[in-house]
Symmetry: C2
Subunit: 253 residues, 2 copies
DNA sequence: CACCATTGTGTGATTGTGACACAATGATAA
DNA sequence: TTATCATTGTGTCACAATCACACAATGGTG
């Protein structure tokens, strides 16, 4: 019961400083082992998983709140973040249900009756993320996108809509580099594309893919090669954000 | 002063039944005279124009609220509606400022301090819309997109983001038919495309454009021709939503 | 040091897109 | 009644982009 009181105080403080009817949910994508991953967490007292999310301070810009929440959760400062949809079903969320799930006494419910949630997706470099706990979190780790379990609230819908939005944008913008380490090989890049677009391995023709990628001015081949593999050492490449900005200026606007 | 009191009562009632921190703003697009139009309104007591918008009832689905607001404003029942972005700058809106603009006494401010707004854009058939007034509206009519004046709050930003989103979707989905009457000629369709994509007249090659459109299974040529023009009578066409659904199934998913 | 999975590159076939010209039409005006 | 003329409807060719495909070079492995 002591624990409950403490947690309740924390929640109370949080809510006093935040907007109550609006929250943020983040779908954090990472790429590892040729698999697209999402970061999920399990709250204390709950055995269901959910998306990392949070509340918006009363004086805080919506986007700043999203960055703050992600920083708190991943430790990362500058990440690619994209708002993709706002979820407003009138039954998507239920304050009393949350209290119950967290094993907290319902008569102290500080959660609002209803909350609309703004969905952001983030693209991060898997290896840099050290999933962070907070006072309500019991577990936090990566899941393969295909293996995402049944989540709390409408979070499954949020994940699937995020994935759809990601795929759509992926066709038109060079987003993939946010998911890879600074230096990577073309075959790694190809696997990333195949995975995100939901294609099977080698569905994309390796030669055509490489030709196409090399035709982009914003992809730089380094002198360095990746050693350690059992075969011919492939070149390493680097994404050049400045040149990509130039490229965008020339091809859009 | 009598008037003020009445309006205040109406607003009060409205706010008691609605979410207070969240609103909806709608960018209603129409097409007329080879021009893309947006529907704007001017509130009583204000000399600035703004987007039609409204509040979400506490028990109402976000999307239902958007449809309701549009129905109230355009009289139209089934319209193409698309959520495109949620605007959450912490200084985008100011409850007290609104009261001042409306010439209402500030000590009775019922507007929330801050509100985040979900942006929807709508595509409607210009000729079907009869702009509707409500108790706060003094004027409501169409503006050429290029001539949109300086608007209240961040509404200019909302319009420009809506236009950007519209153009982006326009490249990938057959949205244009929502803006045209049931029967139309190919040259009308071409003008619509040129206008929305921001191209000058005849920038698209008429022959190639027609060839492309006719290749789509969801566009039906009617026996009927459009008469009355001073020249050869062009065929009329109709968009077939069922066939378009089939087309989407075959070419996406 | 032979092996072999993997990398790096080039070429021809197919498809899609863009540029262009001419006959048919139908209201208008002589 | 008929010539005029802006506009409609359609076909062909050139070029670019994409796709399918093969072979020599490489660098650990055994």
């Amino acid at each position: 019961m002591e624990k409950f009181i403490t947690v309740l105080q924390d929640i109370k403080t949080l809510f006093n400083r935040s907007l109550s009817e609006l929250s943020i949910d983040c779908v954090v994508f990472g790429f590892h082992d040729e698999q697209l991953k999402v970061l999920l967490l399990r709250a204390k007292g709950s055995d269901s998983w959910m998306l990392p999310g949070g509340w918006i301070l009363k004086t805080e810009h919506l986007e700043d709140a999203a960055y703050r929440i992600l920083k708190e959760r991943t430790g990362l400062d500058s990440i690619f973040l994209q708002q993709f949809y706002t979820f407003g079903a009138n039954n998507r969320y239920n304050g009393k249900e949350i209290m119950a799930r967290l094993g907290l006494p319902q008569e102290h419910n500080f959660f609002p009756e209803r909350a609309v949630s703004v969905g952001y997706y983030a693209l991060v470099e898997y290896s840099l993320v050290e999933p962070q706990m907070d006072f309500m979190t019991e577990e936090c780790h990566w899941w393969d996108v295909q293996d995402v379990p049944e989540l709390l609230f409408d979070h499954n819908e949020i994940v699937s809509k995020a994935l759809k939005a990601l795929r759509k944008q992926f066709d038109h913008e060079a987003l993939g580099f946010n998911l890879l380490p600074e230096k990577f090989t073309l075959i790694e890049l190809q696997r990333l594309y195949e995975t995100i677009l939901g294609l099977e391995k080698d569905k994309l023709d390796r030669r055509n893919f490489q030709k196409k990628m090399l035709s982009y001015s914003f992809l730089e081949r380094l002198e360095e090669r990746k050693t350690g593999g059992a075969h011919k050492a492939p070149y390493l490449y680097r994404f050049n954000p400045e040149k990509y900005a130039d490229y965008l200026r020339e091809n859009e606007s």
